[in-house]
């Protein structure tokens, strides 16, 4: 594909649309009920998770099945900033709906992403030596280690206790298995969907670039990729770091959601959460950005719709997963984007 002005415009489209939607949602916020907001919020977080995991599993063909661990790091990392950082800044641990407050929140999202990205680097390093299932089990194990470590952290500090604990020890007070129940609900749909837009744009532009093709070449044939000069080691680690960053961002949003009080418990980030994200990526199609996003939307909605049939929900999900793997192993959209398939469909129609 030659880069023409049209191509640039087209590549801007997802960002424009999503920011538009984000702003729209923000404006409608008052009109929406809590429940509708929560669903739109969950959808956004799940899109970010699925699209970011797709960077590792779909682009480079590595098996990462511990995505929830990165999300957890993002959530805790960002809450540490808004809670303990907020105390340092404002002298209390309340939520501050001011410009400074939201600036702090913005910083916390970045910190969440960076903390997770650092962990991504750590997990990416074994990928230099491990292949396939071994890597999968290491990523899963890493996620579990993070969860367990969070469980042995110290109770959250009350403002009255802050003075007694030096600042560098404060981030270790994460609330044990009870979770970090004091996070402010800074997050709104506007924040969430802007993050969704950025994730989609970065994923898409990266994949369409020479770097993206380098990622894909690793998935296709690692030995051939090396032979044409792709530093497969570096690119695999890059994929892990990038994916972890966005998972961290998703965690930051998740940790500051409305009524987040019970959200950021270590248990929320167990391997079941990781599996959910994998299901989205796999159903959407490995390597397909729009596919992963659509699957995230569909499965989030389906989860809500089937909430009263909880017992049967997971049964049908898992059956669906197995059947798709057997009948359509490339996922619903394969490596294609939805518009590719639409274009092909239209061509067939006119013929």
């Amino acid at each position: 594909m030659v880069t023409t002005p049209q191509a640039v415009v087209r590549s801007l489209l997802p960002l424009a649309v999503a920011v538009g939607v984000a702003v729209g949602l923000e404006l409608l916020l008052g009109l929406l009920g809590f429940y509708a907001q929560k669903i739109l919020f969950d959808i956004g977080v799940n899109i970010i998770l699925a699209v970011s995991l797709n960077m590792v599993n779909g682009f480079t063909g590595q098996f990462s099945i511990g995505h929830a661990g990165f999300m957890a790091l993002g959530a805790y990392g960002s809450i540490v900033v808004t809670y303990y950082g907020g105390y340092a800044l404002f002298g209390d641990v309340m939520m501050h709906s001011t410009v400074t407050g939201y600036a702090l929140y913005f910083v916390s999202i970045l910190v969440g992403g960076v903390v997770a990205a650092g962990a991504g680097l750590l997990v990416g390093l074994p990928s230099l030596r491990l292949r396939g299932d071994y890597l999968a089990i290491v990523t899963l194990g890493f996620g579990e280690i993070i969860r367990v470590v969070l469980q042995v952290s110290q109770p959250v500090l009350e403002p009255s206790e802050m003075a007694a604990v030096p600042w560098y020890e404060q981030p270790w007070h994460l609330g044990r298995s009870l979770g970090f129940v004091h996070s402010g609900s800074y997050n709104t749909l506007g924040w969430t969907w802007t993050a969704v837009a950025v994730t989609l744009l970065v994923a898409y532009r990266l994949r369409e670039s020479t770097h993206g093709r380098a990622f894909l070449s690793i998935r296709e044939n690692e030995i051939a990729a090396e032979s044409i000069g792709v530093n497969t080691t570096r690119y695999k680690v890059n994929a892990f770091v990038l994916a972890a960053f966005f998972a961290g961002v998703a965690g930051s949003l998740f940790g500051h959601q409305l009524g987040a009080g019970t959200a950021s418990r270590p248990e929320e980030f167990n391997f079941m959460k990781s599996f959910e994200v994998i299901i989205m990526v796999v159903l959407g199609g490995m390597g397909s950005i729009s596919g992963a996003a659509v699957a995230a939307v569909a499965l989030t909605l389906l989860t809500e719709a089937l909430r009263s049939f909880q017992d049967y929900r997971m049964i049908s999900y898992s059956l669906l997963l197995v059947i798709v793997m057997i009948l359509r192993p490339q996922g619903l959209f394969g490596t294609h984007e939805i518009w590719h398939l639409l274009a092909r469909f239209r061509r067939k129609g006119t013929r």
């Binding site: 089990i137 194990g141 469980q151 042995v152 167990n270 079941m272 299901i279 049964i315 898992s318 793997m325």
Partner: protein, 301 residues
């Protein structure tokens, strides 16, 4: 000193159960090169089948004969489960990319858990007292009779498997299939049947592990409880530590893992116990990527 001995004994008890379970993972991995995620669910089913069989036959009192019967029944049912699993979920994917197989395995695992939840309910189940409970004091260390029986049973089964794999015609065929499916077929070995057999045997061992866990802990958690999957994952880790595809390796890895967990839980915060398996895994894989007893495989270009 006595606490050291206590951890040692407990470690062997837990470790032999890990080893029993690890054998199933290592056999399937050796032959099909994938993690049978659903193995932990067959293990879970082993516990629940044992419970149901005990209820069905109204076994309320300890009886070695009844316990053996329940064991055999659970093994048969789990073997059937393993057979069906391979036949209908994995065999259609024999030539599919490995990620697909892995994900199918995860899907099957979720399916069994949630279906099990419907069938067996969502409550913790009190396990029937199939064996008499005695506690001995040996040199200041408490030893439970059921633990001794669990260890002995586990070792007996492992020795049996070892004999099967290394001493019989069938075992020779299994080893041949694990080296190369195509060449094994050219020898006249019915490859698909051998693969089925591998699942059947691995599942029978998992059933035994399930029963022994039930007896040891006296109660079992609901089918979808994440502790089952975690138990299974740790057993897989044990198989990897020992060297995947290697029967003695799985036993060594299982014991090693059981011991490390007990010592970590004994001397450090006990919550860290669940992390130690993965920490051990990462270290071993970085130092010896093919496990303690594994062989190096040269990649062909």
């Amino acid at each position: 000193m006595s606490s050291f001995l206590q951890f040692l004994l407990k470690g062997i008890a837990v470790g032999s159960l890990y080893a029993l379970l690890a054998l199933g993972y290592t056999m399937v991995y050796g032959i099909l090169q994938f993690i049978n995620f659903a193995h932990s669910d067959v293990f879970m089913l082993g516990a629940f089948f044992s419970w149901r069989l005990s209820v069905l036959f109204k076994i309320n009192e300890p009886s070695p004969v009844a316990a053996t019967g329940v064991l055999l029944g659970a093994m048969a049912l789990c073997s059937l489960t393993g057979f069906l699993l391979e036949r209908f979920a994995y065999r259609p994917l024999r030539r599919a990319p490995r990620l697909n197989v892995l994900i199918t395995a995860i899907g099957v695992s979720l399916f069994i858990e949630n279906a099990g939840q419907l069938v067996f309910g969502k409550n913790v189940v009190q396990f029937p007292p199939l064996l008499a409970e005695h506690t001995f004091e040996v040199g200041g260390v408490r030893v439970r009779s059921v633990e001794v029986i669990a260890v002995v049973t586990a070792f007996a089964l492992m020795v049996g498997l070892h004999t099967l794999v290394y001493r019989t015609r069938m075992g020779k065929a299994m080893r041949a299939v694990s080296i190369d499916h195509n060449i094994a077929g050219l020898m006249g070995i019915p490859v698909d049947r051998i693969i089925s057999l591998t699942f059947v045997i691995g599942s029978a061992l998992a059933a035994a592990a399930g029963l022994l866990v039930g007896i040891t802990y006296g109660q079992i958690k609901q089918p979808a409880d994440s502790s089952w999957v975690l138990y299974g994952l740790k057993a897989f880790v044990a198989a990897v530590i020992g060297g995947i595809g290697n029967v003695p390796g799985a036993m060594l890895g299982g014991l090693l893992l059981g011991l490390s967990e007990q010592f970590v839980a004994g001397y450090l915060p006990s919550e860290l116990r669940d992390a130690i398996a993965f920490l051990l895994l990462i270290i071993i894989l970085l130092v010896r990527p093919n496990g303690l007893l594994g062989r190096r495989v040269v990649e062909k270009v």
